[in-house]
């Protein structure tokens, strides 16, 4: 977790342009609905009326807010509550670690959502949810009433023994929420000695972005191979096998000489000696990157909404309404579905949720057979990438989303074309969510 004061410190020390769009998103709240831009993309639709509060302005939350207004029109009042003034994309953030991107280049403001779509932006922290009275409370005491609530808080982390303190976490960053920790990990890698060891760990699934850790191992190893002769990358995976794109990553591991261990369970980390203690033995390192086990964002677990394993919220995938709490919808990484926890599919879950809400406000049933898709590109080197994709269809017999054709498909081989397509995919996906 990045503490607020650290975030501000980072902004000032790194000279990060707090994008004008970022602040204007919040400042412009009172002017919503009066701008001509909003009138152009938010239609007036008779018979559709409702109040929606969205908590969390990431891939899911931004998208659901935008599409509620685009498809529901001016009668759907949307308030988006977010803690941070800008969103920092996790997608592409592994390329900060090999110096190809900066954290600033991954930041997106909320100006379009406010000005173009007439969404009320509120910066704040949610302290209470009252699903019976249908209202939420912010830390500053603000009460927000809703007809429907969307929670899109992403993930939080379980505590890893030895990494309980802020000091320990600063020495061993997860960098699994892009931001200050990503830059910190990049600096540690850049400062590694020749012949040094970079040790990273992958938590048991489900975790955010199934291919992400393997991608990270590849891009870091690729950079070390060219810049730090003799350096080693050691991957400790709690899972029994590579969780996504096995062909691309096995080839990448061989290409980069990555040492990969499965079923590796961390007992504890000693930040004094910089050692990772596992069921397979002790591993000493110059840089340690533990990606901790994950659960839904705190707003879910703190409010008793984590009915699946105490970590995630079970939902009806026709609407994303929580199975046990009427009027509360959970999208993205925080929900428990058969779909991966990743930004691209959070965007599509948001559209299914928005469409169902708009229909409900008009007294209609949700689409009975929604389709979603997951797509992503994974860099394997500084100029080649692989990809993974799947289309999910609603299976009425089980009430779940099932991969059409049975399995996700990965690229036949990594290529430079894929790397170029990756940049276009990323920019378009971010625009579909934030612009």
């Amino acid at each position: 977790m990045i503490k607020r004061r650290d975030f501000i410190k980072l902004l000032s020390s790194a000279g990060v342009g707090m994008t004008a769009a970022g602040w204007s998103g919040f400042a412009a709240a009172d002017k919503r609905r009066t701008t001509s831009a909003a009138a152009a993309v938010v239609p007036t639709i008779a018979g559709v009326k409702g109040r929606v509060v969205v908590i969390g302005g990431g891939m899911g939350g931004a998208t659901v807010a935008k599409y509620l207004r685009m498809w529901g029109g001016t009668g759907v009042d949307v308030t988006l509550v977010e803690r941070e003034p800008v969103y920092t994309s996790n997608i592409m953030s592994n390329l900060v670690l090999n110096g190809q991107r900066t954290v600033q280049s991954l930041q997106y403001g909320y100006g379009n959502l406010a000005n173009k779509y007439g969404i009320r932006m509120m910066q704040g922290n949610v302290v209470a949810i009252d699903p019976v009275g249908r209202k939420i409370t912010l830390a500053d005491g603000t009460l927000l009433a809703y007809d429907k609530l969307v929670l899109s808080p992403g993930i939080d982390f379980e505590t890893v023994p030895g990494l309980e303190t802020a000091e320990a976490q600063a020495k061993v960053p997860h960098a699994w929420k892009a931001g200050q920790q990503t830059t910190a990990l990049r600096n540690m890698i850049a400062a590694m000695p020749n012949n040094g060891a970079f040790v990273m760990s992958i938590p048991a699934a489900p975790y955010r972005c199934p291919p992400g850790p393997y991608e990270r191992a590849c891009v870091v190893a690729d950079w070390l191979r060219r810049n730090k002769p003799g350096a080693r990358v050691i991957v400790l995976d709690a899972n029994p096998k590579i969780m996504a794109e096995p062909n691309a990553f096995l080839e990448g591991f061989a290409l980069h000489g990555i040492q990969y261990y499965t079923n590796a369970v961390i007992d504890h980390v000693d930040t004094g000696s910089m050692s990772v203690y596992t069921n397979l033995g002790r591993v000493d390192a110059n840089v340690i990157n533990v990606i901790p086990p994950q659960r839904a964002g705190a707003v879910i677990t703190d409010n008793g909404l984590a009915d699946v394993g105490g970590r995630w919220t079970g939902v009806n995938v026709l609407t994303y309404e929580a199975n046990h709490i009427a009027g509360v919808h959970v999208i993205g990484d925080a929900s428990a579905t058969t779909q991966p926890k990743a930004g691209h599919i959070a965007n599509q879950e948001a559209k299914v949720c928005a469409d169902a809400m708009v229909r409900a406000f008009a007294g209609k049933n949700p689409d009975p057979s929604p389709v979603t898709n997951s797509s992503c590109y994974s860099p394997i080197t500084a100029d080649t990438a692989s990809w993974l994709t799947a289309v999910f269809g609603f299976d009425a017999a089980t009430g779940t989303m099932k991969v059409v054709g049975g399995a996700a498909t990965e690229a036949a081989s990594r290529s430079k074309d894929n790397y170029e397509e990756m940049l276009k995919w990323f920019n378009t996906l971010m625009s579909d969510s934030f612009a």
Binding site: P43, I45, A46, G47, V48, Y67, M70, W71, G72, G73, H344, N347, Q348, K351, V352, D355, V358, R359, F361, A362, K364, D367, P370, V371, T372, N373, S375, W387, T389, A390, V391, G393, V404, G405, T409, A411, A412, E421, K424, W425, N427, T428, L429, S431, D432, A435
Partner: protein, 100 residues
């Protein structure tokens, strides 16, 4: 005569068209399916990879059918295999109605 007939037809269709517009404002055929394309082809099918807004329905259907035969599949070829013919037709008809 023709003009009179035309006016009569227009009058007869007007209420039906208005009614269709009202109901379709929240239940737009193909829209939610087509939104699966927006992440890469841009919101409403413009602004990313190949522009889909305003493309003819038959052209989209033809391209999808060709992609289904590609082997090994590129990413879009996988998507072409992920939708039924009926779903592809709904998606194609939706994009065809948007401004080019």
């Amino acid at each position: 005569m023709n003009r009179t007939l035309g006016s009569l037809v227009a009058l007869a269709l007007a209420p039906a068209a208005a009614h269709a517009q009202t109901t379709s404002a929240v239940e737009v055929p193909g829209r939610l399916l087509a939104s699966n394309c927006f992440q890469c082809h841009g919101t409403n099918g413009s602004g990313g990879f190949e522009r889909l807004a305003g493309m003819s329905s038959s052209e989209i259907v033809k391209e999808i059918q060709e992609m289904r035969r590609e082997n090994p599949p590129e990413m879009m070829d996988v998507h072409a295999r992920g939708y039924t013919d009926a779903q592809i037709k709904l998606i194609a008809d939706y994009f065809a109605k948007l401004a080019r």
